[in-house]
């Protein structure tokens, strides 16, 4: 084939990538959501189209109209109404929207796999006849390529005209700028957003229908293909339509042109891989080269604090007391993890995957929960850990001598560290969308260039593990896994405690402020990435040993997305959540058909809108509601001196908000402000409980009981504060400054109310600058 023929052959794929890019850009520019679910939607529509044509026997034109004019926009409208409108309403961060779109992706993949299975189909119908027309001489171009090219031109012209020339275009810009403000000015924001989604998903559907006949139709494969076209929107820096289209055509034609070259040796192999994977390589290179995407909204899109409901464990004695009480829960969890040892041999083998997967999830907890970064490359690190440990065990790595299996696992995991370190470098300056895409691209490139290459991933033998000459049986292997998990948990615990933990949380909360007091921002981020990659590598190595085989599919880039979603769903900052998530996925995979765990995680992810902190914090939330119910039922808010509180409660903890302000500021202004803050604020639950009157002989409550009791106290106190504040506001006698400070002061006293012991402990009425609108008066009314 000549260069021109190759170029023309590349046009078709380039045009499809351009259509996908147009869809992504339309959704992003109208909604501020980078729709990671684009690939899933494309796949779903492609399957529906095939079903209508092949199974139901509909004519292609009718099926095309149904799939592209009814189903595709319908999916968009549904997503906008059910998932993304609520998020926009509560001004969710870009990171939350990103995770929501991940959830949608996982859900759609689950549905597709659930209905049509994971197998591949090669009978996807083509939208256009397989003819070609003569351009000049012998050069011919396919009808499909021509039609696709025309579609790209038409769509981009129409979109360009709408954006530049119509009132609707102005409305779009207004909504993107500030949705609430636009609505106040009479712009129908919901309609604009819905139109954006419908257009975006229609493009996605079109992409899927056009791509399917060119490749095998599989749920994961097609999705990944569409995800690779993200290179196009990154080149466009998320804004320029023409750049996106030209990049799409450029990459595709270049990829096609590469086919006329052949090289020998390693370079030849790389070239072969490049010939079909230029998009993903371009994605990585562009992300590393483009300094900053034009992300919409404020620059805080990297903040993932919303997934992490918890702060640092309180330092000092408070933390120690809680630490001891947590032992009970930890022992219980440990016992549950030991339970598989009593299982039948086949069930025990199924359980092998739980600790391995849990370790991989822990690696994501480190990055996302503790240092506040989104990382979508875990599968890459896990796979590298697996591959390196197997190579070490086989004596096949850089001429190193063969290591005994167990040591190979540990050393292999450590060898992932340099890769994590290198990946960490881009993370120093990147966050949010850019970092998410960068880590995804790293995972994908590693998968394509290493895991799927026979040079690296063939001739791998998994020998039974031995420990000083003794072969490990199944039970011993499971115990080894638990030991490794324990090691991982210890690392996570150390990362979360003490100076290091505080520095990491400081970095997550406010990196500028952290740098201002000397926190080494760069090295801490690198440390987090490195440790995370080692933990993932360890998990990957164990995963291979539990399934007795190395399969590139186990560490495919899409796995990272699924795993990340699972981790966020189960609580991104919770080690326990990571273990539960692993057990959940493995259990469903064992009991239910393929893809069910994907579906389950997807369903849970959709519920994330109602529980932003993941399941872990949802549990905490339910506890809080229960406490509110108990307080409503049993605590009388109008009582100034409440019924005697059992002594036991005072041994559990007291409310920090009950303390009056210390007078030694010598400064009424600041004192009042702080006082108001203390009484008005609703400290993150659970309250840091501080034992101050440990009564001997009183049995200590369980952690659950303690938490419940302190939650009841807190809610009752807040409610009492409201009631007395209302009473205080009703009194018209207060004048001048007192009228100002009245409600605040009352609130302060109200919170003190239900806790007799705490009130006597901290009464500092003498120093409180409350004035005549005194708390006691307000409370008595």
């Amino acid at each position: 084939m000549t260069s021109i023929d190759l170029g023309l052959a590349g046009i078709s794929l380039g045009a499809i990538a351009a259509l996908s890019g147009i869809g992504l850009l339309v959704t992003y520019r109208t909604n501020g959501v980078l729709n990671l679910a684009q690939g899933g939607i494309a796949t779903l529509v492609a399957y529906i189209f095939r079903e209508m044509v092949v199974e139901w026997g509909l004519p292609i034109w009718l099926a095309a109209i149904l799939a592209l004019a009814v189903v595709s926009p319908g999916i968009g409208l549904l997503l906008e109404r059910l998932v993304f409108r609520p998020l926009a309403r509560r001004r969710a961060s870009a990171a939350e929207s990103l995770v929501a779109s991940l959830g949608v992706l996982v859900l759609i993949l689950g549905i597709t796999a659930g209905i049509w299975g994971l197998g591949s189909r090669s009978d996807a119908p083509s939208l256009f006849p397989a003819h070609s027309v003569r351009l000049f001489g012998d050069t011919r171009i396919g009808v499909d390529a021509l039609a696709e090219l025309i579609m790209v031109v038409v769509f981009s012209v129409v979109i360009g005209l709408i954006a530049a020339r119509t009132a609707f275009g102005r409305q779009i810009r207004a909504v993107v700028d500030d949705r609430q403000l636009a609505e106040l000015s009479g712009v129908p924001a919901d309609r604009v957003a819905a139109a954006g989604w419908a257009a975006g998903t229609t493009m996605a559907g079109l992409t899927g229908v056009l791509l399917a006949p060119r490749f095998q139709l599989t749920p994961y494969g097609l999705t990944l293909l569409v995800l690779e076209t993200f290179a196009v929107v990154v080149a466009a820096r998320l804004s320029s339509l023409p750049v996106a289209i030209l990049t799409a055509l450029g990459i595709s034609i270049l990829q096609s042109e590469l086919r006329q070259f052949t090289l020998d040796g390693d370079a030849g192999q790389i070239l072969t891989v490049l010939q079909s994977n230029l998009f993903i390589v371009a994605l990585l290179i562009l992300l590393l080269a483009v300094p900053k995407l034009r992300e919409l909204g404020s620059g805080d899109s990297g903040a993932t604090s919303s997934f992490s409901s918890r702060g640092a464990p309180p330092s000092g004695r408070v933390g120690q007391a809680r630490f001891r009480r947590d032992y009970l829960g930890k022992l219980g969890g440990f016992a549950l993890l030991l339970a598989p040892l009593t299982f039948a041999p086949s069930d025990l083998r199924s359980a092998f995957q739980v600790p391995a997967l849990a370790l991989i999830f822990l690696s994501m907890v480190i990055i996302t929960g503790y240092s506040g970064q989104i990382s979508l490359g875990a599968a890459g690190f896990a796979g590298l850990g697996a591959l390196l440990s197997l190579k070490l065990a086989n004596g096949d790595l850089f001429g190193l001598p063969a290591l005994p299996g167990i040591w190979a696992i540990l050393v292999g995991a450590l060898l992932v560290a340099p890769v994590g370190l290198i990946t960490g470098y881009p993370a120093i300056r990147r966050k949010g969308l850019t970092l998410a895409l960068t880590t995804f691209a790293v995972g994908a490139v590693v998968s394509r260039f290493v895991f799927e290459q026979p040079t690296f991933a063939s001739r791998l033998y998994i020998d039974p593990l031995t420990f000083f000459g003794h072969a490990l049986n199944d039970k011993a292997f499971y115990v080894l896994e638990l030991l490794c998990l324990g090691l991982g948990l210890l690392l996570v615990r150390n990362l979360h405690h003490g100076r290091l933990g505080r520095a990491l949380l400081a970095l997550r909360d406010n990196s500028g402020g952290a740098a201002a007091v000397g926190v080494d921002v760069r090295n801490l981020k690198l440390l987090a990435f490195t440790v995370s990659s080692v933990v993932a590598g360890l998990g990957g190595a164990l995963l291979v040993h539990s399934s007795y085989t190395f399969s590139a599919d186990d560490f495919a880039p899409l796995q990272s997305l699924l795993w990340f979603t699972a981790v966020v769903v189960f609580g991104a900052d919770s080690s326990a959540g990571a273990i539960v998530a692993a057990a959940f996925i493995v259990t469903i995979d064992v009991l239910a058909p393929d893809g069910s765990s994907t579906l389950a995680v997807g369903i849970l992810a959709l519920a994330l809108g109602w529980m932003p902190g993941g399941l872990a914090s949802a549990v905490r939330g339910v506890l809080r509601l229960l406490a509110q119910y108990l307080a409503d039922s049993f605590v009388d808010p109008n009582q100034r001196a409440p019924r005697p509180v059992p002594v036991r409660i005072s041994a559990v903890g007291y409310l920090p908000a009950t303390t009056g302000i210390v007078g030694n500021t010598g400064l009424p202004g600041i004192g009042a402000t702080l006082g108001a803050a203390r009484s008005g604020h609703n400290p993150a639950w659970p309250t840091p409980a501080r034992p101050f009157a440990r009564t001997a002989g009183v049995p200590a409550p369980t952690p659950f009981g303690a938490a419940l009791v302190s939650a009841v106290q807190q809610y009752a106190a807040a409610r009492a504060a409201q009631v007395s504040a209302r009473a205080g506001a009703g009194s018209t006698t207060a004048t001048g400054p007192a009228a100002l400070s009245g409600p605040l002061a009352d609130a302060g006293s109200g919170t003190r109310g239900p806790l007799g012991a705490a009130a006597t402990h901290t009464a500092r009425a003498d120093s409180a600058p409350y004035g005549p609108g005194s708390p006691t008066q307000g409370g008595r009314r």
């Binding site: 120690q320 100076r499 500021t665 004192g671 803050a677």
Partner: protein, 282 residues
């Protein structure tokens, strides 16, 4: 004398065609309060970012003592004793007040790898640190020196009572105070304050100037940028006035206040005496 002096020498910073900072020389000695005033767009904030390391100068040098720190990152400057606060208080919102201060106090060292292995306690040698850590964890040993710094600052600023409050729940006035406390905990040689009085009421501002004087009396150099000209003229030992990217007047507050250029700039905007009171209304 050389240790702890912050010096800007011939600093230039351009944005495209605009020269935001134009050959500025500035000295902030230890134990003294140096004020930096100027109308909006005078280049104060840019100069401030050059000193803190958020931006780097196109020409000129930033010296701390005798060391050229022009190209160092903000966190390195901070570990060398140059600590800043922000226009918008930037606390660690999920940590308690006490933990915020602890982060301020304990990050002059950067051996985080020790923490990864569980050796996070304070001490001189690694062994004694480990032992101290075990003792502290079991509650048998008193708190380390870092904790003492934090306790001192907490009590001297009257923050002891909100020490266990989550910082994200505090109002602006308290946030500023906690941020200042956090900067103090880092035991700075030079403290750079960016509009520390914005958002504070009169009483809080009075308290702030008192704090500033006490801090300077302990040998800390303070450079303060603020719109509140009254605050600066009342606390500063020396004042720099910037207009259009250049320093137009410098010296003791009286001299700068009487400088004709300064007068004309501020009279054109608002009478000098009323500048501070305008804030009350807001």
């Amino acid at each position: 004398m050389s240790r702890g002096v912050l010096q800007g020498v011939g600093l230039v910073r351009r944005y495209g065609g605009l020269t935001a900072v134009d050959h500025v020389d500035l000295v902030a000695p230890p134990g003294m309060i140096t004020g930096l005033i100027g109308p909006n767009g005078a280049g104060k904030s840019t100069l401030f970012s050059l000193l803190t390391g958020v931006e780097q100068p196109d020409e000129g040098q930033v010296l701390l003592g005798t060391t050229d720190i022009s190209t160092m990152r903000p966190d390195i400057r901070s570990r060398r004793g140059l600590v800043q606060t922000f226009q918008v208080p930037s606390l660690f919102t999920s940590l308690t007040v006490a933990d915020n201060l602890l982060v301020g106090a304990e990050n002059r060292r950067r051996d985080y790898a020790g923490g990864l292995l569980g050796l996070s306690a304070q001490g001189r040698s690694r062994v004694s640190r480990t032992v101290a850590g075990v003792l502290e964890r079991t509650g048998l040993a008193p708190k380390g020196p870092v904790d003492r710094v934090v306790e001192e600052v907490l009590s001297s600023l009257g923050l002891s009572d909100i020490r266990d409050t989550i910082a994200g729940t505090l109002p602006t006035g308290a946030l500023r105070l906690v941020e200042f406390a956090r900067a103090l905990c880092a035991q700075p040689d030079i403290l750079l304050l960016d509009e520390p009085a914005s958002g504070l009421d009169n009483a809080e501002t009075a308290k702030l100037s008192e704090l500033l004087r006490q801090t300077a009396a302990r040998g800390v150099g303070i450079l303060i940028v603020d719109h509140d000209v009254d605050l600066i003229f009342s606390v500063a030992d020396q004042v720099y006035a910037m207009v259009g990217g250049r320093v137009v007047a410098s010296g003791d507050p009286g001299t700068v206040r009487d400088d004709p250029t300064v007068r004309s700039v501020y009279l054109a905007q608002a009478p000098l005496a009323a500048a501070g009171h305008a804030r009350e209304g807001s």
